[in-house]
Symmetry: C2
Subunit: 177 residues, 2 copies
DNA sequence: TGACAAGTGGAATGCCCCTTCCACATACTC
DNA sequence: GAGTATGTGGAAGGGGCATTCCACTTGTCA
Protein backbone atom coordinates (compact mmCIF):
# COMPACT_ATOMS: atom_id res chain seq x y z
CA UNK A 1 0.00 0.00 0.00
CA UNK A 2 1.53 3.21 -1.17
CA UNK A 3 -0.35 5.41 1.28
CA UNK A 4 1.09 3.46 4.16
CA UNK A 5 4.53 4.42 3.01
CA UNK A 6 3.57 8.05 2.48
CA UNK A 7 2.13 8.26 5.99
CA UNK A 8 5.18 6.56 7.44
CA UNK A 9 7.53 8.95 5.68
CA UNK A 10 5.50 11.94 6.82
CA UNK A 11 5.53 10.77 10.43
CA UNK A 12 9.26 10.14 10.33
CA UNK A 13 9.83 13.60 8.92
CA UNK A 14 7.73 15.24 11.60
CA UNK A 15 9.50 13.27 14.32
CA UNK A 16 12.70 14.96 13.22
CA UNK A 17 11.21 18.46 13.18
CA UNK A 18 11.57 20.16 16.56
CA UNK A 19 8.25 21.38 17.86
CA UNK A 20 6.23 19.83 15.06
CA UNK A 21 2.69 18.86 15.92
CA UNK A 22 2.23 15.12 15.78
CA UNK A 23 -1.54 15.07 15.35
CA UNK A 24 -3.05 12.70 12.85
CA UNK A 25 -4.20 15.66 10.82
CA UNK A 26 -0.71 17.16 10.68
CA UNK A 27 0.77 13.84 9.58
CA UNK A 28 -1.95 13.36 6.98
CA UNK A 29 -1.46 16.85 5.62
CA UNK A 30 2.27 16.36 5.34
CA UNK A 31 1.65 13.09 3.51
CA UNK A 32 -0.91 14.68 1.20
CA UNK A 33 -3.61 12.32 2.46
CA UNK A 34 -6.82 12.52 4.42
CA UNK A 35 -6.69 11.84 8.13
CA UNK A 36 -9.03 8.87 7.74
CA UNK A 37 -6.71 7.23 5.26
CA UNK A 38 -3.73 7.58 7.54
CA UNK A 39 -5.56 6.08 10.49
CA UNK A 40 -6.96 3.24 8.44
CA UNK A 41 -3.58 2.35 6.99
CA UNK A 42 -2.26 1.54 10.43
CA UNK A 43 -5.34 0.87 12.51
CA UNK A 44 -4.74 3.79 14.83
CA UNK A 45 -2.42 6.64 15.58
CA UNK A 46 -0.30 4.72 18.08
CA UNK A 47 0.41 1.95 15.59
CA UNK A 48 1.55 4.54 13.08
CA UNK A 49 3.90 6.17 15.58
CA UNK A 50 5.15 2.77 16.64
CA UNK A 51 6.03 1.94 13.06
CA UNK A 52 7.64 5.32 12.40
CA UNK A 53 9.73 5.35 15.56
CA UNK A 54 10.81 1.77 14.99
CA UNK A 55 11.99 2.63 11.52
CA UNK A 56 14.11 5.39 13.00
CA UNK A 57 15.37 3.38 15.95
CA UNK A 58 16.09 0.14 14.10
CA UNK A 59 19.31 1.27 12.43
CA UNK A 60 20.53 2.73 15.73
CA UNK A 61 20.13 -0.62 17.45
CA UNK A 62 21.78 -2.39 14.56
CA UNK A 63 24.69 0.01 14.80
CA UNK A 64 25.10 -0.84 18.48
CA UNK A 65 25.27 -4.52 17.64
CA UNK A 66 27.78 -3.92 14.85
CA UNK A 67 30.05 -1.83 17.02
CA UNK A 68 29.90 -4.43 19.74
CA UNK A 69 31.07 -7.05 17.26
CA UNK A 70 33.76 -4.88 15.68
CA UNK A 71 35.44 -3.00 18.48
CA UNK A 72 36.56 -3.55 22.08
CA UNK A 73 33.72 -2.77 24.51
CA UNK A 74 34.93 0.57 25.80
CA UNK A 75 35.71 1.92 22.34
CA UNK A 76 32.40 0.61 21.08
CA UNK A 77 30.64 2.33 23.95
CA UNK A 78 32.21 5.66 23.20
CA UNK A 79 31.56 5.43 19.48
CA UNK A 80 28.02 4.33 20.02
CA UNK A 81 27.20 7.04 22.54
CA UNK A 82 28.47 9.58 20.04
CA UNK A 83 26.04 8.28 17.45
CA UNK A 84 23.22 7.92 19.93
CA UNK A 85 23.57 11.53 20.98
CA UNK A 86 23.52 12.61 17.35
CA UNK A 87 20.37 10.62 16.81
CA UNK A 88 18.68 12.00 19.89
CA UNK A 89 19.68 15.52 18.96
CA UNK A 90 18.05 15.09 15.58
CA UNK A 91 14.95 13.43 17.03
CA UNK A 92 14.05 15.12 20.27
CA UNK A 93 10.42 14.29 19.65
CA UNK A 94 11.17 10.58 19.80
CA UNK A 95 12.15 10.97 23.43
CA UNK A 96 10.09 13.92 24.54
CA UNK A 97 6.65 13.43 23.07
CA UNK A 98 6.31 9.68 23.24
CA UNK A 99 6.72 9.08 26.93
CA UNK A 100 3.29 7.90 27.94
CA UNK A 101 2.51 5.81 24.88
CA UNK A 102 2.46 2.06 24.57
CA UNK A 103 4.37 1.29 21.39
CA UNK A 104 5.18 -2.43 21.41
CA UNK A 105 7.74 -2.62 18.61
CA UNK A 106 9.48 0.49 19.83
CA UNK A 107 9.59 -0.87 23.35
CA UNK A 108 11.14 -4.09 22.14
CA UNK A 109 13.75 -2.21 20.13
CA UNK A 110 14.58 -0.06 23.10
CA UNK A 111 15.10 -3.19 25.15
CA UNK A 112 17.50 -4.48 22.47
CA UNK A 113 19.37 -1.21 22.60
CA UNK A 114 19.59 -1.29 26.38
CA UNK A 115 20.89 -4.82 26.32
CA UNK A 116 23.57 -3.95 23.75
CA UNK A 117 24.75 -1.01 25.83
CA UNK A 118 24.73 -3.18 28.90
CA UNK A 119 27.00 -5.65 27.15
CA UNK A 120 29.38 -2.84 26.30
CA UNK A 121 29.43 -1.70 29.88
CA UNK A 122 29.99 -5.20 31.25
CA UNK A 123 32.79 -5.74 28.78
CA UNK A 124 34.43 -2.43 29.60
CA UNK A 125 34.14 -3.22 33.26
CA UNK A 126 35.83 -6.58 32.78
CA UNK A 127 38.56 -4.77 30.88
CA UNK A 128 39.08 -2.45 33.85
CA UNK A 129 37.94 0.65 32.02
CA UNK A 130 34.83 1.19 34.10
CA UNK A 131 34.85 1.23 37.88
CA UNK A 132 33.77 -2.00 39.48
CA UNK A 133 31.56 -0.50 42.16
CA UNK A 134 28.83 0.33 39.66
CA UNK A 135 25.94 -1.99 38.97
CA UNK A 136 25.90 -2.55 35.20
CA UNK A 137 22.12 -2.38 34.91
CA UNK A 138 21.85 0.88 36.83
CA UNK A 139 24.84 2.25 34.96
CA UNK A 140 23.15 1.44 31.67
CA UNK A 141 20.11 3.43 32.68
CA UNK A 142 22.28 6.26 33.88
CA UNK A 143 24.27 6.34 30.66
CA UNK A 144 21.13 6.26 28.55
CA UNK A 145 19.64 9.17 30.45
CA UNK A 146 22.91 11.03 30.39
CA UNK A 147 23.16 10.67 26.63
CA UNK A 148 19.72 12.24 26.48
CA UNK A 149 20.89 14.95 28.84
CA UNK A 150 23.79 15.77 26.54
CA UNK A 151 21.46 15.84 23.54
CA UNK A 152 19.20 18.25 25.38
CA UNK A 153 22.05 20.43 26.58
CA UNK A 154 23.02 20.41 22.95
CA UNK A 155 25.81 22.75 22.23
CA UNK A 156 25.76 24.36 18.85
CA UNK A 157 29.52 24.45 19.28
CA UNK A 158 30.94 21.54 17.33
CA UNK A 159 33.22 19.27 19.28
CA UNK A 160 31.56 19.92 22.59
CA UNK A 161 29.67 16.65 22.46
CA UNK A 162 33.00 14.85 22.41
CA UNK A 163 34.15 16.83 25.42
CA UNK A 164 31.04 15.83 27.29
CA UNK A 165 31.56 12.23 26.33
CA UNK A 166 35.05 12.43 27.71
CA UNK A 167 33.67 13.86 30.95
CA UNK A 168 31.21 11.02 31.24
CA UNK A 169 33.65 8.26 30.40
CA UNK A 170 36.40 9.71 32.58
CA UNK A 171 33.94 9.75 35.45
CA UNK A 172 33.18 6.12 34.89
CA UNK A 173 36.88 5.15 34.97
CA UNK A 174 38.16 3.40 38.06
CA UNK A 175 39.55 5.97 40.48
CA UNK A 176 43.32 6.28 40.32
CA UNK A 177 44.63 5.86 43.85
CA UNK B 1 -8.60 33.42 50.67
CA UNK B 2 -8.60 30.00 52.24
CA UNK B 3 -9.51 28.17 49.07
CA UNK B 4 -6.48 29.53 47.34
CA UNK B 5 -4.34 27.86 49.95
CA UNK B 6 -6.28 24.61 49.73
CA UNK B 7 -5.88 24.52 45.97
CA UNK B 8 -2.20 25.33 46.23
CA UNK B 9 -1.62 22.56 48.76
CA UNK B 10 -3.52 20.09 46.63
CA UNK B 11 -1.50 20.97 43.54
CA UNK B 12 1.76 20.69 45.45
CA UNK B 13 0.72 17.31 46.78
CA UNK B 14 -0.18 16.03 43.33
CA UNK B 15 3.09 17.33 41.90
CA UNK B 16 4.86 15.00 44.30
CA UNK B 17 2.74 11.97 43.42
CA UNK B 18 4.23 10.02 40.54
CA UNK B 19 1.74 9.55 37.73
CA UNK B 20 -0.92 11.71 39.32
CA UNK B 21 -3.27 13.43 36.95
CA UNK B 22 -2.82 17.18 37.04
CA UNK B 23 -6.21 18.15 35.62
CA UNK B 24 -8.09 21.00 37.24
CA UNK B 25 -10.72 18.52 38.29
CA UNK B 26 -8.21 16.26 39.99
CA UNK B 27 -6.67 19.18 41.85
CA UNK B 28 -10.09 20.46 42.87
CA UNK B 29 -11.16 17.05 44.07
CA UNK B 30 -8.02 16.67 46.14
CA UNK B 31 -8.62 20.10 47.63
CA UNK B 32 -12.26 19.31 48.36
CA UNK B 33 -13.37 22.16 46.10
CA UNK B 34 -15.21 22.61 42.84
CA UNK B 35 -13.19 23.00 39.69
CA UNK B 36 -14.65 26.45 39.09
CA UNK B 37 -13.45 27.66 42.46
CA UNK B 38 -9.94 26.48 41.85
CA UNK B 39 -9.73 28.15 38.47
CA UNK B 40 -11.22 31.38 39.79
CA UNK B 41 -8.82 31.52 42.71
CA UNK B 42 -5.86 31.75 40.35
CA UNK B 43 -7.32 33.01 37.11
CA UNK B 44 -6.40 29.89 35.18
CA UNK B 45 -4.76 26.53 35.48
CA UNK B 46 -1.33 27.70 34.39
CA UNK B 47 -1.22 30.38 37.06
CA UNK B 48 -2.08 27.78 39.67
CA UNK B 49 0.68 25.47 38.52
CA UNK B 50 3.08 28.38 38.37
CA UNK B 51 2.33 29.21 41.98
CA UNK B 52 2.55 25.60 43.13
CA UNK B 53 5.81 24.84 41.36
CA UNK B 54 7.33 28.10 42.58
CA UNK B 55 6.48 27.20 46.14
CA UNK B 56 8.29 23.92 45.70
CA UNK B 57 11.24 25.36 43.84
CA UNK B 58 11.78 28.44 45.97
CA UNK B 59 13.44 26.68 48.92
CA UNK B 60 15.66 24.75 46.53
CA UNK B 61 16.96 27.97 45.01
CA UNK B 62 17.44 29.46 48.44
CA UNK B 63 19.41 26.42 49.47
CA UNK B 64 21.71 26.88 46.51
CA UNK B 65 22.38 30.47 47.53
CA UNK B 66 23.02 29.43 51.12
CA UNK B 67 25.45 26.72 50.18
CA UNK B 68 27.26 29.09 47.87
CA UNK B 69 27.73 31.47 50.77
CA UNK B 70 28.71 28.82 53.30
CA UNK B 71 30.99 26.40 51.52
CA UNK B 72 33.76 26.45 48.92
CA UNK B 73 32.33 26.22 45.40
CA UNK B 74 33.12 22.60 44.63
CA UNK B 75 31.82 21.35 47.95
CA UNK B 76 28.76 23.52 47.58
CA UNK B 77 28.18 22.10 44.12
CA UNK B 78 28.35 18.55 45.34
CA UNK B 79 26.10 19.17 48.30
CA UNK B 80 23.61 21.08 46.23
CA UNK B 81 23.46 18.50 43.47
CA UNK B 82 22.73 15.90 46.10
CA UNK B 83 19.76 17.90 47.30
CA UNK B 84 18.64 18.79 43.81
CA UNK B 85 18.55 15.14 42.83
CA UNK B 86 16.53 14.33 45.93
CA UNK B 87 14.10 17.07 45.04
CA UNK B 88 13.77 15.94 41.46
CA UNK B 89 13.32 12.37 42.54
CA UNK B 90 10.46 13.40 44.77
CA UNK B 91 8.92 15.64 42.12
CA UNK B 92 9.27 13.99 38.76
CA UNK B 93 6.13 15.75 37.59
CA UNK B 94 7.74 19.13 38.03
CA UNK B 95 10.17 18.29 35.28
CA UNK B 96 8.23 15.84 33.17
CA UNK B 97 4.76 17.26 32.82
CA UNK B 98 5.48 20.97 32.73
CA UNK B 99 7.74 21.20 29.75
CA UNK B 100 5.61 23.09 27.27
CA UNK B 101 4.00 25.51 29.71
CA UNK B 102 4.73 29.16 30.17
CA UNK B 103 5.05 29.66 33.92
CA UNK B 104 6.65 33.07 34.50
CA UNK B 105 7.53 32.84 38.18
CA UNK B 106 8.81 29.32 37.77
CA UNK B 107 10.91 30.37 34.81
CA UNK B 108 12.44 33.21 36.81
CA UNK B 109 13.23 30.88 39.70
CA UNK B 110 14.81 28.40 37.37
CA UNK B 111 16.99 31.18 36.00
CA UNK B 112 18.07 32.00 39.57
CA UNK B 113 18.91 28.40 40.17
CA UNK B 114 20.90 28.16 36.97
CA UNK B 115 22.85 31.25 37.86
CA UNK B 116 23.67 29.94 41.33
CA UNK B 117 24.92 26.67 39.88
CA UNK B 118 26.91 28.55 37.31
CA UNK B 119 28.62 30.49 40.08
CA UNK B 120 29.51 27.25 41.80
CA UNK B 121 30.98 25.89 38.60
CA UNK B 122 32.95 29.02 37.87
CA UNK B 123 34.31 29.03 41.39
CA UNK B 124 35.23 25.37 41.25
CA UNK B 125 36.92 25.95 37.95
CA UNK B 126 38.96 28.80 39.39
CA UNK B 127 39.93 26.50 42.22
CA UNK B 128 41.16 23.94 39.70
CA UNK B 129 38.56 21.36 40.59
CA UNK B 130 36.78 21.47 37.26
CA UNK B 131 38.55 21.16 33.95
CA UNK B 132 39.24 24.44 32.22
CA UNK B 133 38.26 23.33 28.72
CA UNK B 134 34.57 23.41 29.59
CA UNK B 135 32.40 26.42 28.97
CA UNK B 136 30.71 27.24 32.30
CA UNK B 137 27.33 28.03 30.75
CA UNK B 138 27.20 24.83 28.75
CA UNK B 139 28.49 22.87 31.71
CA UNK B 140 25.72 24.29 33.86
CA UNK B 141 23.11 23.08 31.41
CA UNK B 142 24.82 19.72 31.21
CA UNK B 143 24.95 19.34 34.96
CA UNK B 144 21.32 20.32 35.32
CA UNK B 145 20.22 17.77 32.80
CA UNK B 146 22.52 15.18 34.26
CA UNK B 147 21.04 15.69 37.71
CA UNK B 148 17.67 15.03 36.13
CA UNK B 149 19.13 11.97 34.45
CA UNK B 150 20.28 10.62 37.79
CA UNK B 151 16.89 11.31 39.31
CA UNK B 152 15.25 9.41 36.50
CA UNK B 153 17.69 6.53 36.64
CA UNK B 154 16.80 6.54 40.32
CA UNK B 155 18.25 3.59 42.07
CA UNK B 156 16.25 2.19 44.91
CA UNK B 157 19.61 1.18 46.33
CA UNK B 158 20.53 3.79 48.90
CA UNK B 159 23.92 5.38 48.43
CA UNK B 160 23.93 4.91 44.68
CA UNK B 161 23.10 8.55 44.12
CA UNK B 162 26.34 9.46 45.84
CA UNK B 163 28.22 7.08 43.62
CA UNK B 164 26.72 8.69 40.55
CA UNK B 165 27.60 12.11 41.86
CA UNK B 166 31.15 10.96 42.28
CA UNK B 167 31.14 9.72 38.71
CA UNK B 168 29.92 13.06 37.46
CA UNK B 169 32.29 15.17 39.52
CA UNK B 170 35.27 12.93 38.80
CA UNK B 171 34.51 13.33 35.13
CA UNK B 172 34.53 17.07 35.49
CA UNK B 173 37.92 17.07 37.24
CA UNK B 174 40.90 18.22 35.24
CA UNK B 175 42.56 15.21 33.60
CA UNK B 176 45.58 13.96 35.51
CA UNK B 177 48.49 13.84 33.06
C1' DT C 1 -33.99 39.17 61.29
C1' DG C 2 -33.92 40.85 56.70
C1' DA C 3 -31.47 42.58 52.67
C1' DC C 4 -27.51 42.65 50.12
C1' DA C 5 -22.75 41.17 48.71
C1' DA C 6 -19.49 37.66 47.96
C1' DG C 7 -18.36 33.04 47.13
C1' DT C 8 -19.33 28.34 45.41
C1' DG C 9 -19.74 24.30 42.37
C1' DG C 10 -22.55 21.40 39.09
C1' DA C 11 -23.65 21.98 34.54
C1' DA C 12 -23.03 23.98 30.02
C1' DT C 13 -19.70 25.62 26.55
C1' DG C 14 -16.03 25.40 23.49
C1' DC C 15 -11.71 23.53 21.86
C1' DC C 16 -8.66 19.86 20.42
C1' DC C 17 -8.01 15.52 18.82
C1' DC C 18 -8.69 10.52 17.51
C1' DT C 19 -11.79 7.64 15.35
C1' DT C 20 -15.74 6.20 12.50
C1' DC C 21 -19.11 6.97 8.86
C1' DC C 22 -20.58 7.33 4.23
C1' DA C 23 -21.06 9.30 -0.33
C1' DC C 24 -18.01 9.21 -3.93
C1' DA C 25 -13.92 7.87 -6.90
C1' DT C 26 -10.96 4.43 -8.74
C1' DA C 27 -9.53 -0.11 -10.08
C1' DC C 28 -10.44 -4.60 -11.33
C1' DT C 29 -13.41 -8.61 -13.62
C1' DC C 30 -15.96 -10.74 -17.08
C1' DG D 1 -18.62 -1.36 -20.92
C1' DA D 2 -21.42 -2.65 -16.96
C1' DG D 3 -20.97 -4.31 -12.30
C1' DT D 4 -18.60 -5.14 -8.24
C1' DA D 5 -14.84 -4.61 -4.86
C1' DT D 6 -11.63 -1.64 -2.86
C1' DG D 7 -9.89 2.79 -1.46
C1' DT D 8 -10.51 7.72 -0.20
C1' DG D 9 -11.31 11.89 2.57
C1' DG D 10 -14.58 15.52 4.29
C1' DA D 11 -17.66 15.52 7.88
C1' DA D 12 -19.85 13.75 11.94
C1' DG D 13 -19.20 11.41 16.48
C1' DG D 14 -17.32 11.21 20.95
C1' DG D 15 -14.06 11.77 24.84
C1' DG D 16 -11.03 14.70 27.59
C1' DC D 17 -10.15 18.95 29.32
C1' DA D 18 -10.06 24.17 30.70
C1' DT D 19 -13.06 27.68 31.21
C1' DT D 20 -17.50 30.18 31.91
C1' DC D 21 -22.28 30.49 33.49
C1' DC D 22 -25.75 30.86 36.86
C1' DA D 23 -28.83 29.20 40.53
C1' DC D 24 -27.78 28.65 45.09
C1' DT D 25 -25.36 29.04 49.63
C1' DT D 26 -22.82 31.49 52.98
C1' DG D 27 -21.39 35.56 55.26
C1' DT D 28 -21.98 40.58 56.53
C1' DC D 29 -23.99 44.53 58.24
C1' DA D 30 -27.67 47.35 59.80
Amino acid sequence: MRNRQLALDAAMTLLAEPGASLTVEAIAKRAGLGAATVVRAFGGKDALLDAAVSRLLGPVVQRARDLLAEAPPHAALRAFLRELIDFQTAHHAVNDQLGGLDLPTTTALRADLVSAVKEMIEGARRDGEIRADLDPAATTTLIGETALAVARAQPSTPGLVDTYLTVLLDGLRPPTP
